[in-house]
Amino acid sequence: MAQLHSTQQLRAAGRQRRAHPNLVAGTFLFPSLVGLVCFSVVPMLFSLFISFTDWNFLKGIGNWNLVGLKNFIDLWSDEWFTASLVNTVVFTVVTVPIGLFLAVVLAVLIDSFCAKKLQGLVRITMYMPKICNIVASSAVWIMLYSSYGPFTQLMRALGWDDPPRFLVSYTWALPAVMLMCIWSNLGYQVFIYSASLTALPKDLYEAADLDGVNGIQRFFYVTLPQLKPTTFFLTITGIISSFKVFGQINVMTQGGPGTSTYTLVYYIYKQAFSYYNMGYASAVAMILFLLLLCVTVVQWRHNKED
């Protein structure tokens, strides 16, 4: 009897557990789902919708006209947009490879040559720029780049007689911002590479040592191929984050001079919040989204292959 009772209880308990898993999971997921719907899915759809309208924010919600693909067509004859797009792509194509190359070299050098006790310190120090808020580091770089600033002085000392004013030059403003971005991301990339280096299998190195391979060969033929997944990860995150570059531009150059440092996010910001052209700005945002989508699809394919 007692036996029976306890099995019944167990079964009842079991049924109870089995009866409510959705509900239980629901309670766990609820806050997150609210966020997902309110701040991601709905805004996303809304954004898609207003990108097909001529909506100006001042006119108020509801006062929009559907204009079909007009915004998406107009974009291509808008020199500010094309400049933003080109700048964003140039920015990415330059900063990501240079940054990653520097990072992997530094990570390997630190790993193999730096005194053990100093390794952590060196990495942490290099990481500092990344944790500094973007306004402060941009402000500091404005000063470094100013006519009598340390960076300009350094260039003079290095034999560049007449260095330009970097941030206000049509030619040099974008490279100057790029340099600053490479600087601020380098520490993070070094960190990730270092972490991956620890996980590499040692036998390959031993084999390479036995073959009498020198350091540089070892770097190119053993280390780099091994770090491929990490490089891939950092490339993707690097591309995504440089597609979204905004803070540095807004503080350092405001897109100028001319259109020379306009980027997509900065242009979205200007169109939406200075000129209130929400429809048009959303169209630009959709283009940005499509670009990011392409990058992500590449990432997924790659992940599947592995």
Binding site: F39, V122, T125, A195, T198
Partner: protein
């Protein structure tokens, strides 16, 4: 530094054979690398040094790394102590930044910890579809949802409230993934034995699961805190009232209005940056872990 030690530990093997002949090279390389690291923070060194100078001394040639007459005057101006210069309310912005960052951290860590657990350990209908939707959200840049969020909040008269930048943290997709990974690493038998004891999911979560993922929680909290402390675009758009401004926005206004007063700007920058450096150096043990969890698992 803990992590660094770990790094070295596992690599000792392959290096041993070359150790002896590399010693002088190592010394030089170490010096070079330390030099490079210092070069990386030269902007900050210059920033700190300039913040103690008078306006005229900032741009001297050659650069004075150690100010001749260091003084706190610039800090006094920035913090509006004994000065008739404009008040930028930095202390208020400090408080706002702390408040927003702490709340953001709590919200995102808490939702990530619950949702991450659901995805890792619970079986429910539609789990796979939902997970895919979450995955897809990773591609949606916050800049894309910025305009609708702004429109939504302004329609609800919620722009210019801290709520408008805290609430969206309910959906922290990458944090949810990080927590999911951490929970996946907790063995199932703990959970099962607790279930046999009759514990509900919430109790299991609170008493068993959370304690076993504490390091990840700490890491996540550090990452989220720094993220939110440094966040710029959202507060710029949502908070135009000076009483609600967070530090980066206050600093931005300071920079744009005091333009060429480099001594003051560097002081203001120091005030916003130094505390984070301190937090970072204290919490770096967790932080390092947090970064690598996020990165290596993707």
């Amino acid at each position: 530094m803990n992590a660094a030690a770990n790094v070295k530990h596992t690599k000792d093997g392959p290096m041993l054979t070359m150790r002896q002949r590399q010693l002088p090279g190592k010394v030089i390389m170490t010096i070079l690398l330390v030099g490079f690291a210092v070069l990386m923070i030269v902007p900050f060194i210059w920033m700190v040094s300039s913040s103690f100078k008078a306006e005229r001394e900032v741009m001297t040639i050659p650069i004075q790394w150690i100010p001749q007459n260091p003084s706190w005057d610039n800090y006094k101006v920035v913090l509006h102590i004994d000065t008739n210069k404009k008040d930028y309310h930095f202390l208020l912005s400090y408080w706002n930044s702390i408040k927003v960052s702490v709340l953001n951290t709590l919200v995102s860590v808490a939702t990530a910890a619950t949702a991450g657990y659901a995805f890792a350990k619970l079986r429910f209908k539609g789990a796979n579809v939902l997970f895919l939707i979450y995955l897809a959200q990773m591609m949606v840049p916050s800049q894309l949802t910025l305009i609708p969020r702004f429109v939504m909040f302004s329609a609800l008269e919620l722009t210019n409230t801290h709520f408008s930048i805290i609430a969206p943290k309910l959906i922290a997709v990458s944090a949810t993934f990080m927590m999911r990974q951490a929970f996946l690493g907790v063995p199932n038998d703990l959970r099962e034995s607790a279930m046999i004891d009759g514990a509900g999911e919430w109790r299991i979560w609170g008493q068993i699961m959370i304690p076993s993922v504490k390091p990840t929680l700490a890491a996540l909290a550090t990452v989220q805190f720094l993220d939110s402390w440094n966040s710029y675009l959202d507060p710029l758009v949502f908070l135009s009232d000076w009483r609600l401004r967070t530090l980066p926005i206050a600093l931005n206004q300071f920079v744009s209005e005091e333009g060429a007063q480099y001594n003051l700007i560097t002081a203001a920058c120091c005030l916003t940056v130094i505390p984070v450096f301190v937090v970072f150096l204290c919490g770096q043990k967790f932080f390092v872990k947090g970064l690598t969890v996020g990165a290596v698992k993707g």
